[in-house]
Amino acid sequence: MALIFQKKALFILFYFFSFSIFAQEDLMKILESEQKPTTEYISATFKGTRIVNGPSIEQPGKKVLQFMILHRFGSINNGMYDFFGLDQARIRLGLDYGINDRLSVGLGRSSAYKMVDAYIKYKILRQSTGEKNMPISLSVYSDIGFNTLNDDPDLNERQNIARFSYFTQLMVARKFSERLSFQLGLGFVHRNFIKNPFEDNTVLFSSLSGRIKITKRFAITSEYFVTLPWQIKSPYNPSLSLGFEIETGGHVFQMHLTNARDMADPVYVTETRGDWSKGDIFFGFNISRAFVLGKKKDKTW
């Protein structure tokens, strides 16, 4: 009898002893069990709001004003005389503003056709994991351009409406891993006036872009735009660009080789003259600087 009692007492003692050990060791486990599942939105599928010329699914961010300079030198195959194109330059200056994390608007001015353009970009779906699982990001981008050349007789004899062109693209992107992102685009360009009557005013195109991160700060990018072959005529080619990105914290510096010399949205789709096989390609860079507007001055924390 006494033995049984001793055994039970031992059991009780052991039980409480083990329990207090459990309490000490597993406070972290209790805490972790309390943590609610949340949705993680995938960030930095691409580093810039443009991959080379074309838009990416990325937004500047809420209340961020971004100033972007796109710059292309002359053709590399001009050789030493032109210092491999560095003597010449074309440019697009752009301002982008994030109204919220999903919606942004922008203005641009390009050397091509002295074009002024305005765009709107909206992120419809955001790739996420966790409670809400979304395999892709989906954005739509729409741009309207106005040709301001004053020495084109064809345009001068027409109404101003002839000077407008439009670019709309739907983009699906996925960040497959920390290193690898792809984007597929489908869209159309409409030009109110075209010089070659054998071309179409409305041109359908698709695009494929990618980014491979090599180190924390360096990435290789590429971008390809192709139209339906019968819609645009020689001497125009699909545009292919290969780029190299350096990230410096707040800035993204993109350098690339491309056969598309012009950076205005419709122009690189329908009027890319450069030819990779002839070395008729252009060296260029994009730089952007972000300014945060509407900073809270009274920090409550």
Partner: protein
């Protein structure tokens, strides 16, 4: 009868055990980096933490992606290049109070200063951390405040020596917690 007594004892011990635990899922931890060029700060309002008055244990857990910055690019940069949040999504702290906590002696007018010692894990690297915490008990809540410095180097967070990098090597961390009694769901 004996079985009844035993189950009663277990139930009682369970109850006592829960009463000693205080919990928050809305704790606030912010950090500050100050350099002559730029001041960077971020705040996380979703910090999970628990204290066990009986065992004097204190634990923290937070998600790196819950830090709010004034600028999206800063956050991206922080998550991707500094703390590598895709590999190390959380930061944890597991520590103990070096003296006991008594609700009656730690009042608003006279907060207790208690040393805590424990293991802080950021970026997958654990370091011993010793701080002094100000605590008081008010309206059934424990209010705890502390601040300490973190050296990025200690947690193998690499800051490149480039001119345009504007991050201080030592980061000030401010912890602001309000615990209520833990009721298990």
């Amino acid at each position: 009868m004996k079985t009844l007594f035993l189950s009663f004892m277990i139930g009682l011990s369970n109850l006592a055990y829960c009463q000693n635990i205080y919990f928050t899922d809305k704790g606030q931890i912010s950090f500050f980096s100050t350099t002559p060029i730029e001041n960077i700060s971020a705040v996380n309002n979703k910090v999970y933490s628990m204290i066990n008055l009986e065992t004097k244990d204190i634990v923290f857990s937070l998600k790196m992606s819950d830090f709010k910055f004034e600028n999206q690019l800063m956050k991206e940069h922080f998550l991707e290049n500094y703390v590598e949040a895709s590999i190390y999504p959380k930061a944890n702290y597991k520590g103990v109070f070096l003296s006991s906590l008594n609700p009656d002696s730690c009042k608003t007018s006279k907060p207790c200063k208690i040393e805590t010692q424990g293991e802080l894990t950021i970026h997958g690297v654990s370091q011993m951390q010793k701080t002094t915490t100000n605590l008081y008990f008010e309206k059934n809540e424990w209010i705890a405040k502390t601040e300490f410095w973190v050296k990025l180097e200690d947690f193998k967070v690499k800051v490149p020596q480039l001119l345009w990098e504007k991050l201080s090597e030592k980061i000030k961390v401010i912890v602001d917690m309000k615990y209520r009694i833990y009721i298990k769901n």
